[in-house]
């Protein structure tokens, strides 16, 4: 074990209570909780891990209205930072909860955003997953001594380990971009509709690249060899259609063995639709 004291800043009292309750004490064997499906539960066990407890972190963020620059295609830096921080905060708290349990890592992390009617321009960012511990011990934590995180499902987690890799952490890169209004990009009416709009193309292209690059940077700083399961999603959230957040998410991985091949799968065609 890394021997460091888990930081519990930002965790409500109820969380600490709940996590401590899960531990095995004198007479009891302890309890685990998880939001793993039975399939995932079985495969996580096959992979040599056992679930410890459901862990999650939440943060409610007010997203300020940045001055709109109607003309330009530009990144809205403050919003990028805000949305990034909101998720990071939620994930940090989730990691702290896993740390309190002394878990090796978290699988099946889901990042959710909840909007409530009473919160105009605010949203609850949630990170939720199941903390797991290796049954045979071993060194699974990140080089900073924190439990690994991954958005891999139980099935993908098992498969990843089979291919000789281990998860390091969930990595994120985002970019909130404002796509300029028609008038300012200069007489769009002049262009026939079917032509590519070079300026807008460049803008959106750039935004995606920024998001992806930032995610890659995070992976580098973790010392990862690669990132699996990358998804690039675009959302307008509630900011109107000219503002889009590009978010790149994936799980950074490191090799744990030299062998990276999988047994040959059997080909089937199911007759159930």
């Amino acid at each position: 074990m890394s021997g460091h004291e888990p930081s519990t800043e930002g965790l409500p009292q109820e969380a600490l209570e709940r996590l401590h309750e899960l531990e095995a004490t004198g007479g009891t064997l302890g309890l685990f909780t998880s939001d793993l499906s039975v399939n995932e539960f079985m495969l996580v066990r096959e992979a040599g891990f056992r679930p410890r407890g459901l862990v999650f972190g939440s943060s409610i963020f007010h997203v300020g209205i940045q001055g709109r620059r109607w003309g330009k295609n530009v990144e809205l830096g403050k919003l990028t930072e805000a949305l990034y921080s909101a998720r990071e905060l939620a994930m940090t708290r989730m990691e702290e909860e896993a740390d309190v349990l002394g878990a090796d890592g978290i699988v099946g992390v889901r990042l959710d955003i909840k909007y409530y009617d009473w919160g105009k321009h605010s949203a609850e960012f949630i990170a939720i997953g199941t903390a797991v511990s290796a049954t045979e011990g071993g060194d699974w934590r990140t080089k900073r001594g924190l439990p690994f995180t991954s958005d891999l499902s139980g099935q993908d987690f098992w498969t990843l380990l089979q291919t000789g890799y281990a998860p390091l952490g969930l990595v994120l890169g985002n970019c909130v971009y404002h796509v300029g209004h028609r008038n300012a990009i200069g007489a769009i009416n002049q262009y026939p509709r079917s032509m590519e709009q070079p300026k807008i193309t460049q803008a959106l292209y750039e935004a995606r690249e920024l998001a992806m690059a930032r995610m890659q940077d995070e992976a580098s700083s973790l010392g990862a060899e690669g990132v699996v399961g990358v998804q690039l999603v675009e959302k307008s959230h509630m900011m109107g259609s000219h503002i889009i957040e590009f978010l790149a998410v994936g799980t950074a991985v490191r090799p744990i063995s030299g062998e990276h091949s999988l047994a040959l799968p059997q080909l089937t065609l199911s007759l159930d639709s």
Binding site: E14, A15, R45, H62, G64, S85, K114, D117, T268, S270
Partner: protein, 301 residues
């Protein structure tokens, strides 16, 4: 002998056509050895039923538990805080429904109920009425007679499907019960000063964060308490949800539910899964595509 279909058709005729027997007596179903058992209804799908059957269990009835609940008194709603009356009312309502389901299970001699669906339907109208309905299929080990010592006093309930139950059993685990936790929280409206102050900033609203975070944790603490009470080893298949019901968006119900399990050490099989590559695309066939829509997307996996 003819094809399977031919045999099916002719044995079906025997079953339905009572006049075919020489004695004129109704013919018992093929293969039952002459003794006539009572009919049993189940809402397990064919896959579920066959897997449950494979695991050594048989269905003993489609069971229901219904509780229509009226919420008259909501309580005083100010500030950020739990609305105790609602938390306990909503938990109580669900427990009533699942309690009745359990009583039914006991009545038919079931060891447990699988595939439990717990649904909440608002019944509309001025009074705040919600119908909590728990439906599932009771099961018992095959060949167990009703009313023997093997029948537990409290049949377990689980939302797990037949397939999940069979898989769990194979891994050496048994469900012990459905566990739930409820926390109804009232969120204070944002005052105008606060709103103005934070208008242009992007910051965490820590008061709200801790409130909602705490509310979720409370719901889970309660679920855990139930699991500990059942002396379970763990909880799987947890679902967490936020519901608003009829009291408006400032009152949120945080609800967590899962299946508590315990292990049977002498029954643990290793899974040893095989990789299978399906030649079926993960796309549901879309009539629009056939009728000539422009876009046709495929998910190549």
């Amino acid at each position: 002998m003819g094809s399977i279909a031919a045999q099916l058709v002719s044995s079906h005729e025997d079953v339905v056509d009572h006049t075919k027997t020489s004695a004129g007596a109704p013919v018992p179903p093929t293969g039952s050895g002459g003794d006539v058992e009572a009919s049993v209804t189940t809402d397990l799908s064919v896959d579920e039923w066959l897997l449950v059957d494979d695991s050594g269990y048989e269905p003993c009835g489609l069971l229901f538990g219904v509780a229509v609940f009226h919420i008259g008194l909501v309580g005083v709603l100010t500030g950020n805080g739990e609305v105790d009356t609602l938390s306990s009312a909503l938990l109580r309502a669900r427990e009533l429904a699942t309690g009745k389901l359990q009583a039914e299970a006991r009545r038919v001699g079931a060891t447990g109920v699988v595939g439990v669906r717990l649904s909440i339907d608002q019944l509309g109208g001025k009074s705040h009425l919600a119908r909590f309905m728990a439906i599932g299929t009771g099961i018992r080990p095959k060949g167990a007679a009703v009313g023997t010592e093997s029948q537990p006093a409290t049949p377990f309930l689980t939302a797990l499907s037949g397939q999940e139950f069979a898989l769990l059993l194979r891994g050496g685990f048994l469900p012990v019960g459905l566990v739930m936790g409820v926390c109804v929280y009232h969120v204070r409206r944002l005052g105008p000063l606060t709103w103005l102050r934070t208008y242009s900033q992007s910051i965490e609203m820590s008061a709200y964060t801790s409130a909602l975070y705490a509310a979720r944790e409370l719901a889970m603490v309660r679920l855990q308490a139930e699991a500990l009470g059942l002396q379970a080893e763990g909880v799987v298949g947890m679902t967490t949800s936020e519901l608003s019901h009829v009291w408006g968006s400032h009152v949120i119900e945080f609800f967590a539910m899962g299946t508590a399990i315990t292990s049977l050490p002498d029954r643990q099989d290793l899974l040893d899964p095989t990789f299978v590559l399906s030649a079926r695309d993960n796309v549901v066939s879309d009539p629009g595509a056939i009728l000539g829509d422009d876009e046709r997307t495929r998910d190549d996996k």
